[in-house]
């Protein structure tokens, strides 16, 4: 075993993760290697100091309200989705009715009617394109969080 191998063992030794036999092997190496034994002292001290750091406990009220906060946000997110779907449906219905009325109106010129239909076709293409892009990003964003 090289000193590099002992350095990994050193961490396990400090953290109390070594079996009796590996512990003995490590202690024997420390006896014979000054570099590792100096480093060991430093790491041991660092580990003790780091272990002493404890966080200030937040007030109990934070934990009491924690779930409610998460829940409110999930609820709000659902609310926004429903609201958006309903708005799109209503707008589409209203728009359709208005366009139908114009197309049926004999007093409106043919060119104006044609222009209106082309405008709608253009808007539809744009909508589908943006929607596809959003779905693409949404999918990729979702998998970013989940490694398997």
């Amino acid at each position: 075993m090289t000193c590099q191998d002992y350095k990994n063992l050193m961490m396990a030794y400090i953290d109390g993760e070594l079996e009796a036999e590996a512990k003995k092997t490590f202690e024997e190496h420390l006896q014979s290697c000054k570099e590792c034994s100096d480093e060991f002292k430093e790491f041991k001290q660092l580990k003790q100091h780091t272990d002493e750091i404890k966080f200030t406990e937040p007030e109990e009220r934070i934990w009491e309200q924690y779930w409610q906060n998460v829940y409110n946000r999930t609820e709000r997110a659902t609310g926004w989705i429903l609201f958006s779907i309903a708005s799109i449906l209503l707008l589409a219905y209203g728009g359709f009715k208005a366009i139908e009325a114009i197309i049926r109106d004999p007093s409106v010129g043919l060119i104006l009617k044609a222009a209106l239909l082309i405008l709608i076709a253009g808007a539809a293409v744009l909508f589908v394109s943006v929607l596809r892009e959003r779905i693409y990003f949404w999918k990729n964003d979702r998998y970013k969080d989940v490694r398997r």
């Binding site: 990994n8 002493e52 750091i53 966080f55 934990w63």
Partner: protein, 183 residues
């Protein structure tokens, strides 16, 4: 800790079951976030945001008894994003790093119980660690996880945990000696 996760998640997205999960892991989630961002307010926000994201994609969780490692991936990604944003805000050339600058990160000393100078300096130094190194220190010291638990949460081997701990602690020692050198 895994025995009851299965039970908890049997009803999956049902709000009551998800609530049990949040209650069980909220403190761990908060402590992890605090180790990454260094202040109470952002830690609370990040940890709750992670649960919200988890709730939305809980149907993608393949194996119910792996809730925590799965949730941890969501939380750490949020924290890493947060750190990257902070980093670009405070970008500075390496050769200009002084002990004063090292003490000026947003690691709030108020977050530490029974404060003293040694604890404050180490806390500030943790705030200077790279994300991967900081992560291993958080899981080992602030969550008190065993090598086996850390390996599960990071989807790596125990050997990798050991070598990351070695490099993480070595970086921490280097930062600490730079800080002390400047005084």
């Amino acid at each position: 800790m895994n025995g009851t996760d299965n039970q908890i998640l049997q009803a999956r997205s049902s709000a009551a079951m998800f609530e049990t999960c949040v209650m069980k892991y909220m403190k761990d989630s908060y402590r992890i976030a605090l180790g990454f961002c260094g202040n109470h307010q952002d830690a609370l926000e990040l940890s709750q945001e992670a649960f919200l994201k988890a709730y939305r994609s809980i149907r993608h969780l393949q194996n119910n008894d792996k809730f925590f490692p799965w949730f941890y991936q969501i939380l750490r990604n949020l924290c890493f994003d947060y750190m990257r944003k902070k980093k670009t805000q405070a970008a500075q050339p390496l050769d200009e790093i002084t002990s004063e600058k090292l003490m000026q990160n947003n690691f709030d000393p108020e977050a530490i119980a029974e404060r003293n100078e040694t604890k404050e300096i180490i806390w500030k130094a943790i705030g200077q660690l790279d994300e991967k190194h900081r992560e291993i220190i958080i899981l080992r010291h602030f969550l008190n996880q065993s090598y086996e638990q850390i390996a599960k949460n990071l989807f790596c081997s125990k050997g990798t945990v050991m070598s990351r701990l070695y490099y993480g602690r070595r970086q921490l020692k280097e930062i600490l000696s730079t800080m002390k050198g400047g005084h």
